[in-house]
Amino acid sequence: MTKEKGDVLQGTLDMVVLKALQLEPMHGWGITERIEQWSESVLQLGQGTLYPALYRLERQDFIRSEWRITDNNRRARYYSLTARGRRHLNESLAQWRRMSRAINLVLDVTTVN
């Protein structure tokens, strides 16, 4: 798959997916839509990475999945956070905030110089 401008940074994909599921269970397409919408269309999730990530997260017991019927009566696989996933998300978010703050500080200093 060709690299897109809005590709999610390596290593942050899992966090973004978990974050998307924080409020309610969703199916794969819903997750793409949600992220696109939240990021003001900057982040466009490559499907080549979304589904492997979902299967991996499920295997790691961070999310679980089940078939459900959508509002317009279609069958879809819904993903939801597990307790373990919720913990993992909070840890990753805390770490991400520390990291991005540090990086921003560094970048700001450089501009002043």
Binding site: Y51, P52, Y55, R59, R74, R77
Partner: protein, 899 residues
């Protein structure tokens, strides 16, 4: 086996994979449809909307591929989760798990031990080079039997067949008192032709082997090679051992090397502690062995020269035998031939191999049955578990677990049981093994099973381990499959609706019934077999061998004779006997060689005036043993006519004989055997005048019909045999034995005590095969019965637990406890009766196979055929009745309330 497991594994992962692929396809389709829908709502034409959606999604195949990588890792994690879950579930039912593991462990342990022993004795790895060109050499008379050749005959064979063999090598027994580490003990070794190791292709572990130049001058090269086991036992596997000196028989022998662990020497069923050159054996043993043509104690191997066939070798050897028969040297039996048997066809000894194979087959069949019983128990438990869990299974399926996942889960659980069974089975096997090794079997020369290559190491052979693990996994995998598949098939609705116990699912219960019937019949067959062997042993115990009925000791002395004249030897023996007779508590003493019921035997040919030998033979033949005049009294035999030997029978007086009553009756039915002459065709043997008739005894085997026996007078033989058994009658044989040894030590340091035992031990040796048979079969039959009882118990308990509510109602309505117990036990007992009937029928058929191994009982032994079912019946009745009675005692209200 492995292919099967692999196939199963592949099928399983394929099923799991298919499931995941389908799910992924559905998700992708949904995703694309949603995107298409969105595009359409944004105003695109339907076709364009779909095209854009697919472009937006990217390569469908790539997505699939990327996701598949994730499945692969998932399978391993699923397995780990299943194992964790399985362990938890097994821990939750400790009684069930313990019974299943124990059943399997008993079955697997018994198999591992028997397979280990059979493997060690019958299927040793041959360390020999190119075994296909090696033959064992025996002597045979008229194609009958295989006798070990004498060294002199082998020398003639070697000289007369140049070019036929690339080498002929002989081994013989060489026991020696060895002083080592401050201790002196009699150690069994082997004298071997120089160059034998090289010919056979056996490389030394350390140092060098015995070379042709070590084996030239008689007594000239005191060198010794250590056997691997002895090197480990006595020298702590010291790598610096080569060059040191070992004192054997009063002389220092230089240690030149150590044999490899897998070489068990050239003699049957005996692993020697050391190897010395053949030229040293006469000095070491103090006996003339190599030039005596009638000293048949050599185990011989020959390697065919390149291009020579066995038939050609046999032809060349028959020419040698023919010229020997024509020349009639002293000690050559006219008409004897050499026989060649491919070395790889010989396990222990050609004459003994068929019996050993039969015994091995019998034992394997027996332990196979025990394993089968254990497996039926496991199957029965698993079926019961599957029924018990039908509600759990239905619930899990309703919650979305796929059937494949549940089957996998159940299989993992039963495989865990299998593995645990195999592991515990190995421990059980080790236990059996130490019991077997520690049982003080009456083996000749104080031998231990260790000397036959039977040691715990035999268990840790990879084939034995593979069998153990394989049995566990196959048993569990196979047995787990049926209940797993059946148990998960259950119709969800009905399983959830009915009571806690999955109703009276008739299919699995019928299975369990069939299993119990099979168990009962199998264990009955084993019980009958054990009963027959026990009866056979009992019969043997009651056999009167005709000698040794009173407390008697036997002391076997090895007297070096090469350093003394025959007259000296006779004088020395006389002094020993006189000394023995003077000891307190000794009533009578005599000597004999060979002893009745000993493994070695001797015979003599003779003719009688006025009687024609059987067609095709030159002479009559009888067992022969050499005794002194005191032997008959000491052995508790009677002289029924004439006299025993006395001081008047000397080297230079008329040679005389005592014969057995059976022989006297056969040749002189009118009762006047005394005074007749036995003419002997062998020029080395004198004609004998019969002076007495002795009561009949068992010579070769217990309970045999009386044989013709010629007793020759020790004082008239040339004293040439270095070994004699002193038979000493005295009230307390144990104490007598100790007194005899002390007396010998005091009298003459040259006399070596070869063996000391009581007559009871000597007789026990003859009963060993049937004793072993009785012991082993009883042990296995007991296990089988325990397993079958466990099976019945499990079934009845299970029935009870299913019918708890019914029991409550019956009792609330006034049924009495005994009636309820009877009702519950009835089904179990009906199965026991059916299994019993089948078992008796099979025993009658299988018994015929045992007939050759039994003594004094037919396979249709009424006592066994009634006793065995009775014992099993009582055990089965208890197993069925106990759980039933417990249920009937339960509080009816509690029973009713039970879900």
């Amino acid at each position: 086996m492995r292919a099967l497991a692999e196939m199963w594994q592949r099928l399983r992962s394929l099923a799991a994979r298919r499931e995941l692929e389908d799910r992924l396809d559905d998700e992708i389709r949904f995703h694309v449809e949603q995107q298409t829908e969105k595009n359409r709502r944004a105003g695109m034409a339907p076709d364009e909307a779909r095209r854009q959606a697919l472009i937006r999604f990217g390569g469908v195949e790539q997505v699939r591929e990327g996701t598949r990588d994730e499945f692969r890792a998932a399978r391993i994690e699923h397995l780990a989760r299943d194992v964790r879950y399985g362990l938890r579930s097994l821990r939750r039912h400790p009684a069930f798990s313990a019974m299943a593991v124990l059943s399997l462990a008993i079955g697997i342990g018994a198999n591992a031990v028997i397979f280990g022993v059979v493997h060690a004795v019958l299927l040793p790895d041959s360390p020999l080079l190119q075994p296909e060109t090696l033959v064992n050499v025996y002597e045979t008379e008229g194609g009958q039997g295989f006798n070990p050749p004498s060294h002199a005959n082998i020398e003639d064979l070697r000289r007369g067949t140049s070019g036929v063999f690339s080498g002929i090598v002989a081994s013989t027994f060489a026991g020696a008192p060895i002083e080592h580490g401050g201790e002196a003990g009699y150690v069994m070794g082997e004298a071997v032709t120089g160059g034998a190791f090289a010919l056979l292709g056996v490389e030394p572990l350390l140092g060098r082997t015995i070379l042709p130049e070590d084996d030239v001058a008689r007594g000239g090269h005191p060198v010794v090679m250590l056997g691997h086991g002895y090197w480990q036992r006595a020298f702590g596997a010291d790598p610096q051992v080569v060059g040191r000196t070992l004192r054997m028989g009063g002389r220092g022998y230089t240690i030149i090397g150590v044999a490899p662990a897998d070489y068990r020497g050239g003699m049957p069923a005996l692993t020697p502690a050391f190897f010395v050159p053949m030229a040293m054996v006469e000095e070491l043993m103090g006996a003339e062995m190599l030039d005596q043509r009638d000293f048949h104690s050599f185990f011989v191997k020959a390697r065919l020269a390149p291009g020579v066939t066995r038939a050609q070798a046999e032809h060349a050897a028959s020419l040698v035998a023919g010229s020997l028969t024509a020349a009639r040297p002293e000690g050559w039996v006219p008409g004897e031939q050499f026989a060649f048997v491919p070395t790889s066809d010989v396990r222990v000894y050609p004459g003994l191999d068929p019996l050993l194979r039969a015994v091995a087959l019998l034992l394997m069949a027996v332990v196979g049955l025990v394993l089968l019983l254990a497996c039926t128990n496991l199957a029965s438990f698993l079926l019961a578990r599957a029924l018990d869990r039908s509600k759990e299974v239905a619930l899990r399926r309703a919650l979305g677990a796929t059937r494949a996942a549940l089957v996998r889960q159940l299989l993992v659980e039963s495989s865990l049981l299998g593995l645990a069974g195999a592991a515990v089975g190995l421990v059980v096997a080790l236990g059996f093994f130490y019991v077997l090794l520690s049982v003080d079997l009456p083996l000749p020369f104080g031998m231990k099973l260790l000397h036959f290559g039977i040691e715990s190491k035999a268990l840790f052979d990879w084939r034995v381990l593979a069998l153990t693990a394989g049995a566990g996994i196959v048993a569990a995998g196979f047995l787990g499959l049926v209940p797993a598949v059946q148990g998960t098939r259950a119709d969800l609705g009905s399983a959830l609706k009915t009571g806690s116990r999955g109703s009276d699912a008739p299919g699995p219960l019928r299975w369990r019934n069939a299993l119990v019937v099979a168990q009962i019949s199998m264990s009955l067959v084993l019980l009958v077999g054990a009963g027959l062997f026990l009866r056979s042993w009992q019969r043997m115990l009651s056999v009167d061998p005709g000698f040794g009925r009173v407390p008697t000791s036997i002391l076997s002395l090895w007297m070096p004779v090469t350093r003394s004249t025959p007259e000296d030897a006779v004088q020395r023996t006389r002094r020993v006997l006189e000394r023995f007779r003077s000891l307190p508590g000794v009533d009578a003493a005599g000597l004999a060689w060979p002893l009745p019921l000993e493994f070695s035997s001797s015979h003599t040919d003779f003719t009688i005036d006025g009687r024609v030998p059987p067609t095709g033979r030159e002479a009559f033949r009888a067992e022969r043993t050499i005794v002194d005049g005191g032997f008959f009294d000491a052995a508790g035999m009677a002289i029924v006519a004439g006299r025993t030997f006395n001081d008047g029978d000397r080297q230079n007086s008329q040679p005389v004989a005592v014969i057995s009553q059976a022989m006297a009756r056969r040749y002189w039915p009118d009762g006047n055997a005394v005074g007749n002459v036995l003419h002997r065709p062998d020029p080395a043997e004198d004609d004998l005048v019969v002076v007495g008739v002795a009561s009949d005894i068992n010579m070769r085997s217990l309970g045999e019909p009386p044989r013709d026996v010629v007793y020759e007078a020790y004082s008239q033989r040339d004293g040439g045999s270095p070994m004699f058994h002193f038979v000493v009658r005295g009230a307390d044989p144990e104490r007598t034995s100790r007194a005899l040894i002390a007396a010998v030590r005091e009298m003459d340091p040259n006399l070596q005590v070869f063996q000391s035992m009581t007559m009871a031990q000597h007789l026990a040796m003859s009963r060993l095969p049937s004793q072993m048979g009785a012991f082993m079969l009883s042990a296995f039959a007991a296990m089988a019965m325990a397993l079958a009882a466990l099976g019945v118990y499990g079934l009845v308990r299970y029935t009870v637990s299913m019918r708890t509510r019914e029991i409550g109602i019956r009792m609330a309505l006034g049924a009495d406890a005994a009636g309820v117990a009877r009702l519950l036990a009835t089904n179990g007992l009906r199965l026991v009766l059916l299994g019993g009937a089948i078992g008796v029928a099979v025993s009658l058929l299988a018994g015929r196979f045992l007939a050759t191994m039994l003594f004094g009982v037919g396979n249709f032994d009424p006592l066994t055929l009634t006793g065995a079912p009775l014992v099993l019946g009582v055990a089965a009745w208890l197993a069925a009745y106990l759980p039933a009675r417990r249920a009937s005692r339960a509080d009816p209200l509690a029973a009713l309330r039970a879900d």
